[in-house]
């Protein structure tokens, strides 16, 4: 008996796939719609997660450690402290904020209080950004002379005090952690729901055709001979659903998001996902999930 590999008859399989879609218009439409909706939700959600994470990271990057300098420190001492700080562990960057600069910044935030004080009480400081916001405590301990024994300490007579604004830091860290966790959880739930929705739709449309598959097997069709039209069908419906969703997303982006981008910082996040990249990800996942879903769901019915 002549054996023909499944891949050798693409035209036949393509014809079978289109025929099957025409014949099973309702389940096909249901599959298409579920892919479209899921892709749409995913397309909205990915940028939202990105923007939220970006904002959270932005806030976390404001976790700083201030190193107050002795007011009588000389320029040479300041330079020495700077190099010491740059060499310390957990330090990402070191920024010098002079007495005057600090005063200007603080006065902007709280003009009345500073008007009351009437003079500049602030010392020159080094503002340190920790490599990881969670390490700000460790960084502070490393620099603070009042640290418990056993901790390696950077000491310099020019350093008067080390502050990491404990309360503020803790609030920022816990709040952003909650946001990130919530987002991750939501994203996980959404992906789970999408997979369930799509696999259920595929299974339903396949279930109505399980007798057909059974007959094909009895006539001597190989698994792939039966599977290829289904996979092609899934591929086609996935592409169509994905394209529809991307069309809607593009429309929303042009009419709603782009005009607002100038006004809202969240939307204009520089680290927000590129739309072209988003399109590629969505299209690939829509096609991949539906084609693989069709092929895999069929496996159950092929066991005859």
């Amino acid at each position: 008996m002549r054996r023909v590999h499944g891949l050798m008859k693409p035209a036949f399989f393509l014809k079978e796939a289109t025929r099957s879609m025409r014949r099973n218009a309702v389940p096909s439409f249901a599959a298409l719609a579920s892919v479209l909706v899921t892709t749409l939700v995913l397309g909205v959600f990915i940028p939202v997660v990105q923007a939220t994470n970006g904002a959270a990271n932005d806030i976390r990057s404001r976790v700083l450690v201030d190193v107050d300098l002795n007011p009588s420190a000389t320029n040479a001492e300041v330079a020495r402290v700077k190099s010491e700080l740059q060499g310390a562990a957990h330090v990402k960057s070191v920024q010098f904020v002079s007495k005057q600069e600090g005063y200007e910044q603080e006065r902007k935030l709280n003009p009345q209080a500073f008007a009351l004080v009437g003079y500049n009480p602030l010392p020159d400081i080094f503002r340190l950004t920790p490599t990881n916001p969670n390490e700000s405590g460790a960084l502070r301990a490393e620099l603070d002379q009042s640290s418990p024994p056993g901790v390696r300490v950077v000491t310099d007579p020019a350093i008067v005090d080390v502050q990491n604004r404990q309360a503020q830091t803790n609030t920022i860290l816990s709040a952003t952690r909650t946001i990130k966790l919530t987002m991750a959880l939501l994203a996980g739930l959404l992906v789970f729901a999408s997979v369930l929705l799509i696999s259920n739709t595929i299974r339903l449309s396949l279930f109505s055709r399980r007798r057909e598959v059974e007959v094909m097997k009895l006539v001597g069709a190989t698994d792939w001979f039966i599977r290829w039209p289904f996979v092609l069908e899934g591929l086609f419906l996935g592409a169509l659903g994905g394209a529809g969703a991307i069309g809607l997303l593009a429309l929303a982006k042009i009419t709603l998001v782009d005009p607002l981008a100038n006004t809202f910082k969240l939307i204009s996040q520089p680290n927000m996902i590129d739309f072209r990249l988003l399109v590629i990800i969505l299209m690939a996942s829509a096609i991949g999930v539906s084609a693989a879903g069709s092929g895999l769901s069929l496996r159950r019915f092929l066991r005859v």
Binding site: M1, R3, E214, V215, V219, G220, A221, V304
Partner: protein, 286 residues
């Protein structure tokens, strides 16, 4: 013709001897294990085949029989007697719990799952419920059996008219199964089973859903296929029809073979399909 008769006689002798051996064995030992000597002519061979469906559910119990090339065999028995189990074992839809099944000398056990489709192309199957593809026309249903083997459109166009003509479906080409009568649907199923000219054709209750007159038509069709050289095994609970066919009968009861009667015992001569039909109709009338 003379050769065929001599062959038939030789086969009958073997069969009679087998029955006697079995009866003797049954006396001596509860398990029936007749000796069979499969020759080059054996198409189907069951050797001590049992099939259990879960605890207590016996589908088939130590069945041993052989079917020769060009033979037409009827499996009879009540529902649940094991007829369908034999059919399903033969298309490797089920695996036997014990024993070996050989088709054309090859043990079915040795056929791995991936190769099953290629095996099935050599076995045509007809079912009581037709099992046609509802979304395809008559032509496409029959063509599908050839498409799975990798036949080109040209080859299919060349083969199908003969089969359609033989089964009397030439005018129904473009109808869908639901537009046909039960008899016509079964003809499509037979045509599909025979499209690849398989050496073995199985029919599981092919007339179970049909009226007597239509049943005769289907039986004639199977008879014609058998005369064309295909080994045919038919499961049926229509005892009268089977008796009138005057062919070898294997009777099953609760999974056991209780009777294996060779066609020769009826002493019939070879009829042509028309004669068979006339006789079936005549004998069907009270």
């Amino acid at each position: 013709m003379a050769t065929t008769e001599r062959d038939a006689l030789g086969r009958d002798a073997v069969r009679v001897r087998r029955v006697v051996t079995r009866l003797r064995a049954a006396d001596a030992h509860p398990v029936i294990r007749p000796r069979i000597q499969p020759g080059a002519d054996t198409v189907v061979e069951f050797r001590g085949v049992s099939k259990l469906y879960g605890p207590g559910g016996i589908g088939l119990e130590r069945a041993t029989f052989a079917v020769n090339r060009r033979e037409m065999v009827f499996l009879v028995g009540a529902t649940g007697s094991g007829k369908s189990t034999i059919m399903r074992l033969l298309i490797k839809e089920l695996e036997p719990t014990e024993g070996t099944i050989r088709v054309a000398g090859r043990s079915l056990e040795e056929i791995e799952r991936k190769k099953v489709p290629y095996y099935r192309r050599n076995v045509g199957v007809v079912f009581q419920d037709f099992k046609l593809l509802p979304t395809r026309t008559v032509y496409d249903n029959i063509a599908y059996a050839l498409q799975v083997t990798g036949a080109s459109r040209k080859q299919i166009r060349a083969t199908l008219p003969d089969i359609l003509h033989m089964t009397g479906l030439s005018t129904k080409l473009h109808n869908y199964p639901h537009q046909l009568s039960g008899g016509e649907q079964q003809r499509v199923a037979v045509a599909r089973a025979f499209a690849g000219h398989p050496p073995l054709l199985l029919a599981d209750e092919p007339t179970g859903n049909l009226d007597p007159e239509t049943s005769i038509g289907i039986m004639q069709l199977l008879y014609r296929i058998n005369r064309a050289g295909t080994t045919v095994i038919v499961a049926s609970h229509d005892n009268e029809m089977v008796d009138r066919m005057r062919r070898r009968v294997i009777e099953l009861r609760r999974g056991r073979i209780v009777r294996d009667e060779a066609s020769g015992l009826y002493g019939s001569r070879e009829e042509n399909t028309g004669e068979l039909g006339e006789r079936l109709r005549a004998e069907a009338r009270p």
